[in-house]
Amino acid sequence: MNRSSKAIAASALLILICIGALSYRSQVRNEEDREWVTHTHLVVERLQAIRIDITQAETGQRGYILTGQDRYMALYGTGVDRLGQDIKALQDLTSDNSEEQESIKRLRSLITDRLGELADGIEVRKQSGLLAGVEAVTQGNNGELWMEMIATQIGEMRRTEAELLSARLKTAAASTRKMKVLIACGNTLAILILLVKGFVIHREIGKRTLAEQNLKQANESLERRTAELSETNIELESFAYSVAHDLRAPLRHIAGYSGVLTQDYGPRLDAEGLRCLGKIVDCAHKMGTLVDDLLALSQIGRQELSFQDTALGSLVAQAVEDLAPEFAGRDLKWQIGDLFNAECDSRLMKQVFANLLSNAVKYTRKREYAVIQVGQTTVNGERVVFVRDNGVGFDMQYAAKLFGVFQRLHKARDFEGTGVGLAIVQRIIRKHGGRIWAEAALDQGATFFFTLGTPENKAPKQPELAIHEEEMDVARS
């Protein structure tokens, strides 16, 4: 579309340039034509002057012959001089036309002959007096004939010049007409082309405006939906918070009054009564834990991250130390490799390790020799932290449910828990712009991998020392 519209504009421009050139040429031609008209008038004028000059020369000669006065002689002289000038001028004017030059030659010879006769008459008057002079003038008496011949010649030349002019004017008129038509057609064409171009541009602009409007609308609705979504998210988080918070009070009261009942009326209850009371307290505690976990989850959702350069290795060490009471007395081997430094919220990242390691401790509980590894590796150029255990693992077909809130892949009877720990881990990792996934097989242990969003992660201070399978085997044996 763009290329063809350029071609249209170029062709219109070309036409306008051609019209300009033609107009210029036509203007030059018109000027030439005007010059020709002037030229013809000049020629005709000279021819007229020649007739007058001859008449003057004759009048001067006759006056002198009759009176012998010098003033007639002067008149004669002026006529002869002027004839010379006028013939010379005529020759210059028609120098480009050989035909006319020929005519001028004939005219000049006629005039020369006539002037010779006039000069002879004057000579006779001078030598022999009035009578001889008059006789000389009247003797030949062919003056009339001469004059007629000269007049004929001049008339012929005037006609020729008039014909030339007429022919030139006719050509000029025809070319002017052609020029007019050409200019009119060219202009019309150029205007049409520009109109078409204008229409095309108008239509394109219309289309573009429409497309822009559509895009703008789409953007606006996207922004609106994003705003709605984030608002809904905030509402959901605060809803979860207030529900959890408000649920906690009656739970405490259930537990509290059960406690009062046990303290004050315990002695009056039989074994079954006490067992039921114990169940009430247990259930209240269980729900209390659920509510607390839910609160923790919602708190992470609402919390702003505070990034700082953190040695992940030291977080792991702290988490292991905190977990010590849970694996006391067990044969559990920790294999902790070097971990990189990362820009992260260290408090939340410690929570990640605490939850992952606590899971690892929990699900290796039934192993005689438990091994838990923490290390780093590289996947597609991205640093990955992993936590591996040789515990009970899980069936990969349920992997999608692993990080869901309140999702559990084990029976409560086998392993206690609320199903919030991994949801919290995932939420923290996602808030850092990272990903988390797991690989496992039933009864074959589980490995959790996570990234932390590449840009801020720093280079390791020491070469990577990921722990491999072989080391695990060595450690086991």
């Binding site: 918070h245 405490r252 009261h253 537990a255 509290g256 406690g259 009062v260 209390g288 919390q303």
Partner: protein, 157 residues
Amino acid sequence: MSHEVEILLVEDSPEDVELTIRALRRNKLANEIQVAEDGAEALDFLFCRGSFKDRTPSSLPKLVLLDLKLPKVSGMEVLRAIRGDERTKAIPVVVLTSSKEERDLIDGYQLGVNAYAQKPVDFEQFSETVRQIGMFWMLINQPPPPGTFVASRAQGA
């Protein structure tokens, strides 16, 4: 009132009031407990306004046990009012609440709370928490001498 109030318990839940008082009494920690069911009532008591206008102003509690989620005037606003007034700013205030939201902790300490405890779900733990708070603030802690308040009041007048 014949006896001086030792603890002002600001708590809107009757169950929590009952369980807290029970825990205190079983440990013989407070004979005189004044309960305020919302923040406004707590402030009326402390500043001898409204239904407490006949109370002796110089008689201030040894401890304020403050819940945060309260009708009318919130616990934080009560804390702000206590710390913002020369007559009451030295009273020990302990927040005892369901929430351990980071925001609440930060706000509480910034407003000058003396201690912050979350109410445990477990009744034994709850009783123990209340007992330890009462023990410390009633028996171990030395309260500000009475002159502290009198002098402040004289300055404020």
